[in-house]
């Protein structure tokens, strides 16, 4: 996997604080997360709600859609919540990682991550 026939490339997500997210308590990867590398390649509406809770999950979904220009807004028909690919330019991908990390880190982790 991983050959890209055009478009943009994923960024490297080796940051330790980011690498912990994406797995449930049993160590099972959420949809869109590579179970071996932990790299998050996509997000799903239901997956984010499970991972971050209904309120934050929904907010993150639409925030990622805004950053990536996917175009899915809260006002879109309720049955149109497609999975969102994170194959996007590096600067936008970095914004996505910040959004994900801001919710997932514990308060102490946040202090460490933010220096």
């Amino acid at each position: 996997m991983g050959k890209t026939t055009g478009g943009t490339q994923d960024v490297d997500t080796k940051d330790a604080a980011i690498k912990r997210v994406g797995f449930d308590d049993k160590g099972v990867a959420y949809p869109g997360v590579d179970p071996e590398t932990g790299e998050r390649k996509a997000v799903t509406f239901e997956g984010l709600k499970k991972e971050f809770g209904a309120k934050d999950g929904e907010r993150i979904y639409f925030e990622i859609s805004r950053i990536g220009g996917h175009g899915v807004e809260p006002s879109a028909p309720i049955d149109f919540r497609p999975d969102l690919s994170l194959n996007m330019p590096k600067d936008k991908r970095a914004e996505v990682e910040k959004v994900l990390a801001s919710v997932n880190l514990s308060p102490m982790d946040k202090v460490i991550a933010e220096g």
Binding site: G7, T8, G32, T44, G71, L84, S85, L86, N87
Partner: protein, 198 residues
């Protein structure tokens, strides 16, 4: 006198079977679907993607537009034109009608439910069609390691299902995925795209 060069390259024509996928992740603006060396979508990046199975006679990706002309009494041809409608469809015939998951997706109005002994796909009462992404992947004619992508951002099959049971031929049900606009994407890019690798 310099002259215009002939513009024909066999490599820029198409002549290959394509595969159709539903439920791919929606790419970010300006990005496409990541494929493996065989032209299959990355399953981590596209966790809900499903191959639609083989088609009867391939697929047709169609973009067309409609217009309104401004006429005047002094001329016989319009003096202005506006695009007033656009349509993208992906159509063909799909074979795998006894696949419950595909049947649910392709029928649009169907709902799949696992019960003892099998899967029940029920019809009747849905008020709004569920839309999703549609991807068609076709190898390039002269370089099958490169793939052309046809994409619908949000669409659904308007043909439902049509299943003929006969001893004379394997079944094929017509399909036509009809694109909706994802209105908050940039104008001119809000229905779908075609990606041609270099």
């Amino acid at each position: 006198m310099p002259s215009v060069a002939d513009n024909f390259a066999k490599s820029k024509t198409m002549w290959n079977a394509a595969k159709v996928y539903t439920g791919c992740a929606l790419p970010a603006e300006g990005s496409i679907v990541t494929l493996d060396a065989n032209g299959r979508p990355d399953s981590t990046e596209n966790p809900s993607a499903v191959h639609m199975g083989y088609t009867e006679k391939g697929t047709v990706y169609k973009y067309k537009w409609s217009k309104v002309d401004a006429m005047d009494d002094e001329h016989t041809a319009p003096h202005d034109t506006r695009i007033t409608g656009e349509e993208i469809t992906v159509s063909g015939g799909w074979k795998q009608v006894a696949d419950p998951a595909l049947l649910e997706t392709m029928s649009v109005g169907g709902t799949k439910q696992a019960i003892t002994g099998g899967n029940l796909v029920s019809f009747g009462g849905k008020k709004t069609p569920t839309a999703g992404t549609i991807l068609v992947v076709a190898p390039m004619k002269d370089d099958p390691t490169k793939f052309i992508q046809f994409f619908i951002l949000s669409g659904y099959n308007t043909e439902g299902v049509e299943i003929t049971n006969t001893k004379d031929a394997e079944n094929s049900s017509p399909f036509s995925f009809f694109a909706l606009a994802v209105a908050s994407r940039t104008d001119g890019k809000n229905m779908g795209w075609m990606f041609i690798p270099t």
